[in-house]
Amino acid sequence: MIVAIPTLEERVSPVFDVARCVMVVELDGEREVRRQTLALHSPDPTRRVAALTEQAVNVLICGAVSRPLEALLSAAGVRVISQTCGPVEDVLRGFIAGRLSDGAFLMPGCCGGRRQCRRGGPGLRCRPGGPRRRRARRRNADGTGPKAAGA
């Protein structure tokens, strides 16, 4: 798996749309195989996406990202874990350990149901006032609604 993290002074860059530097790390399970730093010169969203896909990046862990750029990334098959902040090394370790949902890595204002795009599919959006809760799938008193399990 190849993971990209835009960086600014050893922290995750706050806005991917204007980030100038991205760290690309190849992981074999939990082991780091290769690491390199890429410069992102162009503000053009399509070139930013192309710079990542040229490196066969599977996952982008970033701070804020605009909707159009996020849509381009998703269309290119890059899974986006946005609204992430903190020191880059901590974030990478957190990703390997599956702890990126911890509050310490969440940008302020992010509800926790932050955007995590499925490969090529639409991501979950950060909603004002917290993540949308699924309505309980229960049968109504009058017998309407979903059937009970096994019914």
């Binding site: 922290r11 053009d44 969203p45 990202v65 302020p108 204002g109 932050r114 959006r125 950060c126």
Partner: protein, 457 residues
């Protein structure tokens, strides 16, 4: 206890401000965050306090040109810098930011303060206004263009022949297309032909077409532009450049609505609306006997005049914005606008090539400018040189001094012709005269009426 009360008072004051305000310590961690900042960024105060300002603010300038860092480094405040922030849901919010350094009682720097204003509403209003200032791809807020916009739907509705007058690059074809697109003929073809670009024989075969065997190599029938424009609109550009012989043939089409393709025996009837255009003074050409009077009256049924760009300078910023938006889209760039210096140079230029020249200037700047603002060095060298000579708008000038410079420049351009200068400045001649009477209102000699000289074209 006193300190807590003072802090509470400060918070109440900050929360009563409509602009977002936050302060940071020396480690860029947020120390206060007012209610408007919560509303604009979508981040609660409790979440923001103690966090890195860039993680909370998420502005386009955080990485490359942080205003707070710049203020702390230079000691100079940043005022109303336009940037955007990204909310947690990826929405872009345009804002303007201002910064200042915070010091303690001994004058030591203890952090910084940033205020920011949500420009979303302003942006929406700007877009709405832009809509009012555009008409079928034609852009203009000047009174002359607004009058044209009012007139175009009525002109389009009629079936009359239209004559569009205007210098090269003023957008004559754009107006012709707008007339066609607004007319009941919109579903049929709009066919354009530049009469000035072709020699007579070629123009004749292009316009009327030919039959097989009409001349050597004419193996098959070729329909002319008139046939192609049947039930549609034919735009004849540079009609003032056609020869006397061609004028006669055109007159027949306009009078009888019939034409004969080369080599044809029978005349062909055609239902076409003619929109003609010229950069020449047809009145003058008729007087000089170089344009047929009868054709002139056939063509000159509805007459529209497109003012040159130098006569509608107020449209320059609007046009620049339009070109920047278009080139950003076409070239996938993110150019924000023009610096004050570059804008001053473009506003002072006379544009002999009109809107087309302005478009080319912006395209040139797009080649040299990667992102951000277009600066004077991105403009064509000739303009840069002119800018260095004529740039007199130094900082520290009063509004009256700037006005006087602008008036004098206009008078100089029109060689002392006050009426023409007033037209260019968008004021009445009497207003201009009144301004010239005021002390410091004019440079002696510049306002003196002189012999009028005719501008070519």
């Amino acid at each position: 206890m006193k300190k807590t009360a003072a802090a509470n008072t400060h918070q109440v004051i900050l929360d009563s401000i409509a602009d977002g305000v936050f302060t940071v310590d020396l480690n860029w961690r947020i120390t206060s965050f007012n209610a408007a900042a919560e509303r604009i960024t979508g981040v609660k105060r409790a979440e923001a306090i103690g966090r890195h300002c860039c993680d909370v603010f998420r502005a386009s300038c955080c990485e490359t040109e942080c205003a707070l860092k710049s203020t702390r480094r230079t000691g100079r405040p940043v005022v109303s810098k336009a940037v955007y922030i990204l909310k947690a849901d990826g929405e872009r919010i345009p804002i303007s930011i201002s910064t200042a350094v915070l010091r303690d009682e001994r004058g030591r720097v203890i952090g910084g303060v940033e205020t920011f204003r949500d420009l979303s509403q302003v942006e929406e209003l700007r877009k709405e206004l832009e809509g009012r200032y555009t008409f079928a791809d034609i852009v203009g807020r000047s009174p002359a263009m607004q009058r044209l916009f009012e007139l175009l739907p009525q002109v389009a509705d009629s079936t009359s022949t239209v004559l569009i007058e205007g210098e090269s690059g003023t957008g004559k074809e754009l107006v012709a297309r707008a007339i066609h697109n607004l007319s009941p003929r919109a579903k049929r073809r709009f066919v354009a032909l530049n009469c000035g670009a072709l020699p007579d024989t070629l123009l004749e075969s292009e316009l009327f077409g030919y039959k097989a065997g009409a001349f050597t190599d004419a193996r098959r029938d070729k329909p002319g532009r008139l046939a192609l424009a049947h039930r549609g609109t034919l735009f004849l550009d540079e009609i003032g450049d056609v020869s006397a012989a061609m004028q006669t043939r055109l007159l027949r089409v306009l009078q009888e609505r019939v034409y004969e393709p080369l080599g044809a025996i029978e005349p062909v009837a055609v239902d076409v609306r003619i929109v003609a255009a010229t950069h020449r003074d047809l009145d003058e050409m008729v007087r000089a006997g170089r344009f047929r009077e009868d054709l002139y009256y056939r063509v000159n049924v509805v007459r529209l005049r497109l003012p040159p760009l130098r006569e509608r300078r107020e449209d320059i910023p609007l046009l620049i914005e339009r070109f920047i938006t278009r080139f950003n889209r076409v070239q996938n760039k993110d150019i924000v606008g023009l610096s004050d210096g570059a804008m001053a140079i473009l506003m002072a230029h006379d544009y002999p090539g009109n809107v087309r020249e302005l478009e080319n200037i912006i395209e040139h700047a797009f080649v040299l400018c990667r992102a951000g603002l277009i600066e004077p060095q991105h403009l064509p060298p000739a303009l840069q040189a002119a800018g260095k000579v004529s740039r007199r708008f130094k900082t520290g000038l009063t509004l009256r001094e700037v006005e006087a410079i602008h008036i004098n420049d206009a008078l100089r351009r029109h060689r002392g012709n006050r009426a023409a200068a007033a037209r260019e400045l968008g004021v009445n001649a009497s207003t201009l005269f009144r301004k010239l009477q005021k002390p410091g209102g004019a440079v002696p000699g510049a306002s003196a009426p002189r012999a009028r000289s005719k501008r070519p074209g």
